[in-house]
C-alpha cells in the first residue's frame, strides 16, 4: 500500500516534470530574472513533493503545489542571502508573484516563450542559446546537452552557469521581441528548437525518458511560435521538416530493433497525416516567397517522401535543393548529403571527388556520417579495402547500437578477394 503511494507520487512528479518544467521555471524566474535560483528552488520543491506526496497523497493541482513550495524556497534564500533595501525589493517581487498564483491565470504559453527569447537574447553568446533553452525550458541536464553539442560536460556547465548569471545581472528581460526585432532573434530560437528535436531523434527507440519527449516538445514549441507569429516562412519550414522526420519514426527500426535506412523503409508505416500537414505547411511557406534553410530542408524531406511513394527518381531536383542549402549554410554536413545525392545522378566516382573536397574541413574527421558516406561510395566503385577501413572508423564513431549494427552488416557484405589488398 505504502509502495503504491510511493509509485504514484513518483509517476505524478515525473509527468509534471516532463509536462511543465519550463513553464514552472519561467513563472518562477520572470520577475527576479534569477533562472539559476528558480531551477534550484524547483528541484528542491520536487524533492519535497517526493517526501510529501506518498504520505498525504498527490495534490489535485501538482503544478500549483510545486510553484507555491518553490516560491517559499526562493523567499527563504532571498532572506538568508541579502539584507537591506535590495532584499526588500526582491521579497516584494516574490510576494507579488505568490499572490498572483499565475499558473492558470498567466497567458500560457507566452511565459515560456518569453523565457525562450531571454535565453536567445543577442547579449548572450550565440553558441550557448540552444543549450540554454534545452536546459532552462526543457530541463535537460548539462551532460546530455554537452554530448548533443560535442562539448565536454564541465565546459558546458560552466557556460550555462555564466549565461544564467548574465541574464540576471545584466537585466535581460523576459519578453517576446517586437516585430522589428524579431528576424535575428527568431533564427536563434528556431536553431535551438531544431537542436532539441535532433537530440530526441538520436534516440528513436525511445529508451531514454527525457529524450523521448524532445521531438514532441520541439514540435509543440514550434507550433506555439507559429500561433504567435503566423506565416513566418522559416517557422513553417522548420515545423514541416520536423513533421516529415517524425512521420517516419516507426519505420526507422525493424521489429528486431535494427536500423532501416530511408531507401529500405516501408512507406505504409509512415504517418500520412503528419506528411500531409508538412506538405501544406511548405506550400504556405512558399507563398511568402522568402526562402531559408529550414524551408529547403523541409522540401528535401518532401522530395524523399515523394520518390519513395511514387517510385519516380527525382535525384536531380534533390541535388539542386542541396546546392541551394549549401549556398546558405556552407555546412560540411550538407556537402556530404549533397555528394550522396550526386552519386545517384552522376555515379559514385564523381561523388567521391566532391566528398574529398568537403573532407578539407577538419570537423569531419570525427563525424560518423562522413565516414559512412565515404564507405558507401568506396564500396560502389569497388575499392573494398578502403571501404572496409572507412566503415571501421564510422562504426567506431557511432553511439547508436542499431546504427552500429547496420554499418557492421554493410561492412561484412563487402566482397573479399585476392584483388582486394
Amino acid at each position: 500500500m505504502a509502495q503504491d503511494h510511493d509509485t504514484r507520487a513518483r509517476e505524478t512528479a515525473g509527468a509534471v516534470a516532463r509536462r511543465s518544467y519550463g513553464k514552472l521555471v519561467a513563472l518562477l524566474a520572470v520577475r527576479t530574472r534569477d533562472v539559476a535560483g528558480a531551477e534550484d528552488a524547483l528541484s528542491e520543491a520536487f524533492a519535497s513533493a517526493l517526501a510529501d506526496w506518498p504520505m498525504k497523497g498527490c495534490p489535485a493541482n501538482p503544478e500549483a503545489w510545486l510553484l507555491t513550495v518553490a516560491r517559499r524556497k526562493m523567499i527563504d534564500v532571498a532572506r538568508r542571502r541579502k539584507s537591506g533595501e535590495k532584499a526588500a525589493a526582491e521579497l516584494r517581487l516574490l510576494a507579488d508573484a505568490c499572490e498572483a498564483n499565475e499558473f492558470h491565470e498567466a497567458p500560457f504559453p507566452d511565459q515560456r516563450l518569453a523565457l525562450i527569447f531571454a535565453c536567445a537574447h543577442p547579449a548572450i553568446e550565440r553558441a550557448i542559446h540552444a543549450p540554454l533553452i534545452l536546459q532552462v525550458v526543457l530541463g535537460l541536464d548539462a551532460a546530455t546537452i554537452a554530448s548533443a553539442f560535442l562539448m565536454s560536460p564541465a565546459a558546458m556547465s560552466q557556460r550555462l552557469v555564466r549565461a544564467k548569471l548574465k541574464i540576471r545581472r545584466a537585466g535581460i528581460p523576459f519578453r517576446i521581441p517586437r516585430p522589428d526585432e524579431l528576424p535575428g532573434r527568431l533564427d536563434a530560437v528556431l536553431d535551438a528548437i531544431y537542436a532539441a528535436f535532433a537530440e530526441g531523434w538520436s534516440d528513436p527507440a525511445a529508451t531514454d525518458v527525457v529524450r523521448r519527449e524532445l521531438p514532441d516538445e520541439a514540435i509543440f514549441l514550434c507550433r506555439v511560435i507559429d500561433d504567435l507569429l503566423p506565416d513566418e516562412p522559416e517557422v513553417l519550414g522548420l515545423l514541416a521538416l520536423m513533421l516529415h522526420a517524425e512521420a517516419r519514426r516507426a519505420a526507422r527500426r525493424s521489429a528486431d530493433g535494427d536500423y532501416v535506412p530511408l531507401a529500405e523503409q516501408d512507406p505504409t508505416m509512415w504517418d500520412a497525416n503528419m506528411i500531409e500537414e508538412a506538405e501544406s505547411l511548405l506550400l504556405r511557406a512558399s507563398a511568402r516567397n522568402a526562402i531559408g534553410r529550414y524551408q529547403i530542408e523541409g522540401a528535401l524531406q518532401s522530395a524523399h517522401v515523394h520518390r519513395r511513394r511514387t517510385g519516380q527518381a527525382n535525384w536531380a531536383a534533390v541535388v539542386e535543393l542541396y546546392d541551394a542549402l549549401f549556398e546558405i549554410s556552407r555546412s560540411p554536413v550538407v556537402a556530404i548529403n549533397r555528394a550522396l545525392a550526386l552519386a545517384q545522378v552522376r555515379g559514385a566516382g564523381p561523388a567521391l571527388e566532391v566528398l574529398d573536397a568537403a573532407a578539407a574541413d577538419p570537423r569531419l574527421t570525427e563525424y560518423q556520417p562522413y565516414w559512412a558516406a565515404r564507405a558507401e561510395l568506396l564500396a560502389k566503385v569497388g575499392a573494398s579495402a578502403d571501404a572496409r577501413h572507412a566503415y571501421d572508423i564510422a562504426i567506431g564513431l557511432e553511439r547508436d547500437v542499431a546504427v552500429r549494427r547496420f554499418l557492421q552488416q554493410r561492412q561484412a557484405a563487402l566482397p573479399t578477394g585476392p584483388a582486394d589488398s
Partner: protein, 115 residues
Amino acid sequence: MQYMLLIHSDDSGFFAMKPAEQQQAMGAYMAFTEALRKAGALVGSNRLMPSTDSTIVRVANGKSQVLDGPFTDTKEQLGGYYLIEAPDLDAAIAWAARCPGAGHGAVEVRPIRTN
C-alpha cells in the same frame, strides 16, 4: 537598474573635423543628453580629455610607478560615459543605440553592481 554606457571611439577622427562639423557632433551629444534628462533616465555623464592626456599609476612593493597612458594601446579609446537608469537591458540597449558614440565608435553597456 543602472547601466554605464561607455563610449569607445577613435578620438583622432573628432580632431580631424572642421569646426562646423565638430559643432554638429557636439550638438548631437547635447541632444542625446537632453533626451535622457527629459525621460528621467540620466544619472550622470562626462566627456573625457583625449587618451593622450592619460596617465597610468601602479603600486608594486610599496613603490608607485607612473607611466604615460593610455592603459590599452588600441585605436579606439574610452572617451566618455553616461550613467543611466533603465528598467532592463533592452531599454539600456535602446538608449545606447541612440547615443552618437554608437555611430562613430562603439558603446559598451555595463550594468552597475548593486551588492
